[in-house]
Symmetry: C2
């Protein structure tokens, strides 16, 4: 009996999908963690939720030639994972309190369970299980993309909070009188440490502004990194501040939670060597020494794979909890 | 068999002790939570650890006419609870990495297990089990005393962190360029929201300074509250800032952890009506709306009893884990 159920378990296949602004990325893994297939199509997320659903259903059906046990999806936005609801998806037009998992299940038309989570949370699960956080007990992952995202794993378990919205790390205040945030707050860490922040900082800097006049806003971070590598003092100074502010945020997390592993990923982590020195310095200065005992700030290793792999693990763990 | 063990369990008695700067307070509770005895003696903590140990041993022996199943102690300082070590006790002279639980056990000379925790953490356990946090699932308690202490309970369990030092809430940075802190950091919330902070703020305020010339520093908060109740604008303004800064700290905690219950206690919570309006306002402004869903900021109800009761529960839960 045990053997047969164990065998059934091993035969399971999990489909993970990461919804990006540009692409849907999918991966199937086996119960042993081997990759059995992967793919990518356009997401058209900005065209609205119904177009996105259509694309998702088509994408999932392509994969479904294989028998899928559960589907996990990383969604950009605020997710009520317990109820499968996309509460707010700023990059998916007209989306508020959308019963994502239920609608998708109905559209797929099979009994395959669907689990959703915030995309940065999925990336955290991915790095924890198969990346830079492997072997750690507790971990915080910070994703430096357009915004400042996060995921918290405590004692081997995702901490989702009482409403399912934990890990909104970008909205930590690090300077009460800092720049305004869309939500009405001021001085959130996201206003200092994110792609959006870099765009603002460059635009406001008279020494840098002109050097970016022919650069698309989305390419600002890359250009800023190039300039710093060419020893441009103004660019170096921006990365120093970026690193120090990231350190302030990490010290807040460590003083509160006393976790030993902080993983930093997302597109901006490509500029790692330009900011990490200041990050470490500032973290150490601001942590009470004992809480920082054994602390490691690690660079994420899975890149874009973290989110889609995390979505696979989400499917797996969702299924196990529901079995 | 079940009945007899259940009966044995119910017959257990737990001694909790709270080590204050001035007094040792003790309480015995039954397995059903009834108070079976209590007492208080001078702690002489400032005279150093060996004098404190002597006082503790005498105090415990007095209680020991009753048969105690386990002892829980709330200690002012950084505590490695898993190993029973007082890592740092700034208010107990010459104390660093002191094997508190072991030494005390040897001095008592019985097999009664001894568990220790940080005193603010004990207060959090007390309020969670028997006070303002009763019935909540997750809770953060903030203790506004000489410093800014805290305790975190997630899903019914104390979160102590990977080294046992979680909940150092006072060292959250809320303003990177703020006043310096003894540990080398700047702009910790403790530098704005604590008794020590109020002393500094009053001394630096030309409109208030003179009104405090005949007041002992330890009585500054009380005098400041009196002045605010008499409508002194400078005093009102200090409490407004105090409240707003507390709100910044609470918003950071809620954005990270998505907990619905925040309990605020400690001596300074006596000025509740002078700061709580601004605290609520600032918290709401800085929390992403969804994480703040259902959030309640509650005043602690157990007063000085929170710590000693929490120490009793610490003894109880320590024993159960070890059984």
């Amino acid at each position: 009996m045990f053997f047969s159920s164990e065998k059934g378990r091993m035969k399971r296949k999990f489909l993970g999908i990461d919804i990006g602004g540009t692409n849907l990325r999918g991966k199937i893994i086996s119960g042993q963690g081997d990759t059995l297939g992967e793919g990518k199509i356009r997401s058209d997320a900005s065209a609205g939720i119904s177009r996105l659903m259509e694309n998702l259903v088509g994408f999932i059906k392509e994969f479904s030639r294989q028998e899928i046990s559960a589907i996990g999806i990383g969604v950009p936005g605020t997710v009520d994972s317990a109820n499968g609801i996309l509460v707010q998806g700023p990059n998916i037009a007209e989306t508020r309190d959308f019963p994502f998992a239920q609608v998708l299940s109905e559209r797929i038309g099979t009994a395959t369970p669907v689990f959703i989570e915030n995309d940065a949370t999925c990336a955290a699960i991915g790095e924890y299980r198969a990346g830079a956080g492997r072997g750690s007990n507790s971990m915080v992952m910070i994703t430096l993309g357009t915004g400042f995202g996060g995921g918290i794993i405590l004692d081997g378990k995702l901490w989702t909070g009482e409403n399912g919205f934990a890990g909104e790390l970008g909205h930590m205040t690090i300077n009460p009188s800092g720049p305004p945030c869309a939500g009405g707050s001021r001085g959130c860490v996201e206003a200092y440490v994110s792609q959006v922040a870099i765009r603002r900082i460059v635009r406001e800097n008279p020494k840098l502004r002109e050097k970016f006049s022919d650069v698309e806003e989305s390419a600002f971070p890359e250009r800023l990194a190039e300039l710093a590598r060419e020893k441009d003092p103004a660019a170096i100074s921006v990365w120093n501040d970026f690193g120090a502010n990231l350190g302030v945020a990490i010290s807040i997390l460590v003083n509160i939670l006393d976790i030993r592993t902080v993983v930093v990923g997302g597109g901006l982590s490509g500029a790692w060597e330009l900011f990490i020195g200041k990050t470490t310095e500032e973290t150490e200065r601001r942590c009470i020494s004992k809480a920082a005992r054994g602390l490691q700030i690690k660079r994420a290793v899975l890149g874009d794979d973290a989110g889609v792999l995390g979505a696979c693990y989400l499917a797996e763990s969702g299924l196990e909890e529901n079995c």
